[in-house]
Amino acid sequence: MIGGYDIEVSARERVPRWINYGTPVFTVVAALVVGGFALVALGVNPVAAYGTMFVNTLTTPFGVTEVLLRSVPLVLTGLAVYLPLRAGLWNIGAEGQLYLGAIAGTWFALNVGGPSLVVVPVMLVGAGVAGGLWALVPGLLRARRGVNEIIVSLMLTFVGVEFAGYLVRGPMKGGQGNFPVSETLPTAAQLPQLGGLFPALERVHVGVFVAILAAVAIRYLLRSTKTGYEVTVTGSNADAAEGSGIDVDRVYVLVFVLAGVLAGMAGAIEIAGIQGRLRPNFSPGYGFTAIPIALLGRRGALRVFLAGLFFAVLVVGGSSMELAFSIPAAIVEVIQALVILFLITAEFFKRYRISIERDEREPPAPESGAAGGD
C-alpha cells in the first residue's frame, strides 16, 4: 500500500488481443520516447532528430537502398535466432555462424571459376554448409549431452570471429600492402543487382530476395509441415513432445543447423554484396542485433522480416542523424537496447494486470486467485 492507494498485481487468465498485437508497436514507441530524453540531454530536438532519422531515410533512394542492403543480414540472422527460439532454444551464436559463412563464401568465390550463375550459388551453398556445421556443434551438444546451447553458441562466436581474423592475416591474406584482408572477390562472385528492375535502387542486390525467400520458407516450414509442428510442440513443452514420440534431439539439431545455414548465407551475402573481400571484424554485430529482432518478431517469420527492416531503418537513420546533428551514433544502440527492455516489460503486462485503487477500510477481496495452483 502506497500513500493510501492499494496496488494489486494479479495474473491474467488470458491475454487481451490488443496487448498481443500491439506489443511490438508499444515497444518501439516507448523506446523512441525514452530515447528522446537522451537526445534532449545532448541538446538535440528529438522531434527533428527522429524526423531526420525516419523521413530522410525512408524518402530518399539512397536511404531506402541502404535500409534494404542492411536488412538482408539482419533478417537472415534474425531468422537464425528465431527458428531455434520456436523450439525453445537460444542461438546466441548467429554472429559466429555468419563469420564462418563469410569465410567459406570468400574461399569458394576465390577458388571456383566460371560464370556468375555457377559461382554465386556455389558460394551461397558453401557458406550455408559452413554456417550449418558451425551451428551443428551447439545443436548436437545440447541434444546429446544436454550442454547449454547459449554458452556453446556464444563461445563459438568468438572462435569464429578470431578464426576469420587469423585467416586474413595468414592463409587467406591477399592484396597489396600489409592490410589484413583477403583477395578481392572476382566479378563473377558479385551479386546481381536490381538496376534493371528499379533504376533508383540500382545498388540493391539479390540478397534481398534471399532474405524474403528465407522468411517465407521458415514460415512455411513452421506452419505447414510435420517437421514444423514438431518444432512448435517441442518449443511449447519438450517433455510432452518426447512422450508423444517426437525425436526432440533431432528437432534440436535440425533447428540449429538450419539457423547456421541462414546466418552463414548472410555472411557470404555481406561479403559478396557489400564488402567485396573478407576483412576482420567486418560485421557490426549483425548476429547480436538479431536477438532483439527475433524477440520483436517472435510471433511469426514474416514479423521477423519486418523487425529486421525496422532495425535496418534504425541503423541507417542513426547514421544520418549522427551526420545531421553531430551526435554519437551510439544513440541508436541505446534505442535498440530500450526495445529489448520494453519487450521484457511488455511480457510482464501480458501476464499480469495491475489495478490501483484507493484503499478502503476493508481490504479488497482478491479478484481471482493470482498465480495459484502451481
Partner: protein, 577 residues
C-alpha cells in the same frame, strides 16, 4: 461385502459434518490450551476450491498429524499458514493472538517454522552458514553494545551497510552446537551441505527453524525423501522437540506414520476437514476410510468383461531414480484385452515409474515389456505409440499437453504423422477432426479449436482433451494415471464411462489411482503397489476398500500372505504365463 460396518458408519456420520459448522459454537472447553487455531479457512484458485471452511486446532506441545490424499489441500493449508498464500476467508489465531502472516519472514517472526518437502539449502555453504542465512549476526566490534563503533549501528542506513558487510560466525556456531546437543540433531556445523546425507540435510532444515526460536514446526511430508532408518530417527527427534514444548504439525499421507507419531490427527479430503480424532482412539483402518472413502460409489455400469488375449505384459520391472535408489523392485503385470487392471497405491510408491515404463517414456533398468506379444523393452515412446499404446499421464499440463498451443495442435499430437506425403500437414482436416472430438468428448471452453490455447481450459476439460486424443486412436492398451484427479464431479463420471466404453471395445486398461472408489468402480482386477512392489492382488468383489486402503498404507506384514490368502485365486486371476 463390507465386514467392517462400524467404521463404515463413521464415514456416514462424518460426511454430514462437512457442511460448514458455525464457528461460534464449536470449541469444547478441552481445547482451551489451543496454540494454533484455524477457523473457516478458505482458499480458492481459479476453478478450484483448495481449502473449504477448514477448522483446525493444534494444542500446545502436541504432535498433530494432518492426513489426506494428494490434492486434499494439505499443502495449500500449510502455505496459508506459512504466509505464502493469502487466504480468501477465515481467521487464524496463534497463541491467542490474531495471526496474519504476509510472508514466510512474518511467519518465522511469529514463531512458525516450516520444513519443506524439498530442502531449501545451498549445497556449497556449510551447515552453519545455511542456518544463519538471512539472519546473520554483525561482527563483534560493531554491535550495538560495543561502544563508540557500535553506536554507528544505530545510524539507520549505516546499520544496514554494517549488517550487509560483516558476518561473525562465532556466536551462531556455538548456538548451533547447543541446539544439536539439546535435541540430538547431530550435524557438524562446519560441514558443507553437499557432503551431507538426505537425513542430515533434513536435520539442517529443522535446525534452521530452531535457530529462529520457532514454537510451531510444520513438516510437509518429511519422510517422502527418507530411508526408513532416517525416518525413525526423525520421529525420535520430533518427540524430543515435542517434549521440550515445541508444537509440531506433521503433514503426511502415510497411515503408519500417523499412528506411530501423532497425538491427534486431522483428516482432510477434497479441501474439507473430515474429522479430528485422538490417534489412540482410531485404527489405521478407520483412518484409511476417513482419508480415501466417499459415501457413495460412483454408479458406473460395469458389465462383465469379455476378456481376450494378453495385450500388455511386463515382467520383473525395475527402475532407479536419479540418485540411484531403487523405485520399482520387480513388478510383474499382465493385462488382457477388455480388462481393466487397477493399480491402487498411495502416490510416491512407484506409480510414475511404472506408468512411464509401460509406455516407453522411461527405460527400466531391468525387466521386459511387451505389447501384443511384441517385445518392446528398451524402445522409446514412438514404438509404444505405434504398437497401439495410449497414455494419460498424471501431470497432464507438464507431460501431456503443449499449453500455449491450440486445442487443435494438442489433439493432433499423436496422429499428426498420418500418411500424407512430403511432410505437409493438413491443418484443415486436423481442425475438422478436433471439432468433432471436442463435441464428442464434451470439452468445454473451446471457442475456436485453432486458436484457443489448451492451457486456457480448466482441469477437467483439459483432461477430457487428453483422453479424447488418446482414446480416438482406438488403442489396444490404455495406461491411465490418476485420470480423474482434480476433475469436477460431472467430468469424473464422464471420464470413467469413457474408459469403460473403451474396455468394451477390447482395450486393455491399466488404471493407476490413489482413489479407491475409482479403482473399485472400474477395475476387473486390483493390484496394490506399495514401495515399488505389488504387495497384494484382489478383485473388487473379493476385497473391501478398507482392507485395500490398509495395504496401500503398507500395512501388509507378509505380502505373500496378503497376496495369496485374502483374495485367493480370482476369476481372471494372475496370468503367470
Amino acid at each position: 461385502m463390507d465386514p467392517q460396518s462400524v467404521p463404515g458408519e463413521r464415514v456416514e456420520t462424518d460426511k454430514t459434518k462437512t457442511a460448514p459448522p458455525f464457528h461460534s459454537c464449536k470449541l469444547p472447553p478441552v481445547e482451551s490450551d489451543a496454540y494454533l487455531e484455524l477457523s473457516g479457512v478458505r482458499k480458492t484458485f481459479p476453478g478450484v476450491v483448495a481449502n473449504d471452511d477448514v477448522d483446525l486446532t493444534v494444542r500446545r506441545g502436541e504432535i498433530h498429524g494432518l492426513l489426506g490424499e494428494n490434492g486434499a489441500g494439505k499443502s495449500t493449508l500449510m502455505n496459508v499458514l506459512y504466509g505464502l498464500y493469502d487466504r480468501d476467508a477465515g481467521t487464524i489465531t496463534l497463541d491467542g493472538e490474531p495471526y496474519d502472516p504476509e510472508s514466510p519472514a512474518d511467519a518465522i517472526a511469529s514463531g512458525v517454522g516450516m520444513v519443506h518437502q524439498h530442502f531449501m539449502l545451498i549445497p556449497r555453504l556449510t551447515v552453519a552458514e545455511n542456518v544463519v542465512l538471512g539472519d546473520r549476526e554483525r561482527a563483534s566490534g560493531v554491535r550495538a553494545d560495543d561502544g563508540p563503533l557500535g553506536a554507528l549501528a544505530d545510524v539507520p542506513f549505516l546499520g544496514g551497510v554494517l549488517d550487509a558487510l560483516t558476518l561473525d560466525m562465532g556466536p551462531p556456531v556455538g548456538r548451533i552446537r547447543e541446539l544439536t546437543a539439546e535435541y540430538g540433531l547431530d550435524v557438524p556445523p562446519e560441514a558443507p551441505v553437499w557432503d551431507l546425507t538426505v537425513g542430515e540435510r533434513q536435520r539442517v532444515e529443522i535446525l534452521k527453524a530452531l535457530f529462529r526460536d520457532v514454537e510451531l514446526l510444520v513438516l510437509d511430508e518429511p519422510t517422502a525423501v527418507l530411508a526408513p532408518d532416517d525416518a525413525e530417527r526423525l520421529f525420535e527427534t520430533l518427540e524430543t522437540l515435542a517434549d521440550s514444548g515445541i508444537t509440531i504439525l506433521f503433514i503426511t499421507h502415510k497411515l503408519e506414520e500417523v499412528t506411530r507419531l501423532t497425538d491427534r490427527v486431522t483428516v482432510l479430503r477434497d479441501g474439507q476437514r473430515i474429522d479430528t480424532v485422538e490417534t489412540d482412539s482410531v485404527t489405521e483402518d478407520d483412518l484409511a476410510r476417513l482419508m480415501v472413502g466417499r459415501d457413495v460409489l460412483f454408479d458406473v455400469d460395469r458389465p462383465p468383461a469379455e476378456i481376450g488375449d494378453p495385450v500388455l505384459e511386463a515382467t520383473g520391472l525395475e527402475t532407479e531414480d536419479e540418485r540411484g535408489f531403487e523405485v520399482l523392485s520387480g513388478v510383474d503385470l499382465s493385462v488382457r484385452a477388455g480388462q481393466v487392471v487397477g493399480i491402487a497405491g498411495v502416490s510416491g510408491n512407484g506409480q510414475v515409474d511404472l506408468a512411464e515404463s509401460l509406455v516407453g517414456v522411461r527405460r527400466p533398468s531391468a525387466g521386459a515389456v511387451s505389447v501384443g506379444g511384441r517385445d518392446l523393452t528398451g524402445q522409446g515412446p514412438r514404438a509404444f505409440l505405434e504398437a497401439g499404446v495410449s497414455y494419460v499421464p498424471e501431470d497432464r499440463l507438464e507431460d501431456a499437453t503443449a499449453p500455449d498451443l491450440s486445442v487443435m495442435h494438442n489433439l493432433m499430437l499423436k496422429s499428426y504423422r498420418g500418411d500424407s506425403g512430403f511432410g505437409r500437414l493438413d491443418y484443415d482436416a486436423a481442425a475438422e477432426r478436433a471439432e468433432r472430438l471436442v463435441d464428442e468428448f464434451d470439452v468445454r471452453g473451446v471457442r475456436d479449436v485453432r486458436k484457443t490455447p489448451a492451457g486456457d481450459l480448466s482441469g477437467g476439460n483439459l483432461q477430457k482433451l487428453v483422453l479424447a486424443r488418446e482414446l480416438s486412436r482406438d488403442p489396444d492398451v490404455l495406461v491411465a494415471h490418476q485420470p480423474t484427479r482434480g476433475v469436477d464431479v460431472g467430468a469424473v463420471e464422464f471420464l470413467r464411462e469413457a474408459i469403460l466404453d473403451q474396455r468394451a471395445e477390447g482395450t486393455g486398461v491399466v488404471l493407476l489411482s490413489e482413489n479407491l472408489d475409482e479403482v473399485f468402480a472400474l477395475s476387473d482386477r486390483i493390484l496394490v503397489l506399495s514401495d515399488g512392489e505389488i504387495v497384494a492382488e484382489t478383485t473388487p468383489e473379493e476385497a473391501d476398500r478398507g482392507t485395500v486402503g490398509l495395504w496401500m498404507g503398507g500395512a501388509v506384514d507378509d505380502p505373500a500372505v496378503a497376496a495369496s490368502d485374502e483374495p485367493a485365486p480370482t476369476a481372471e486371476g494372475r496370468t503367470d504365463d
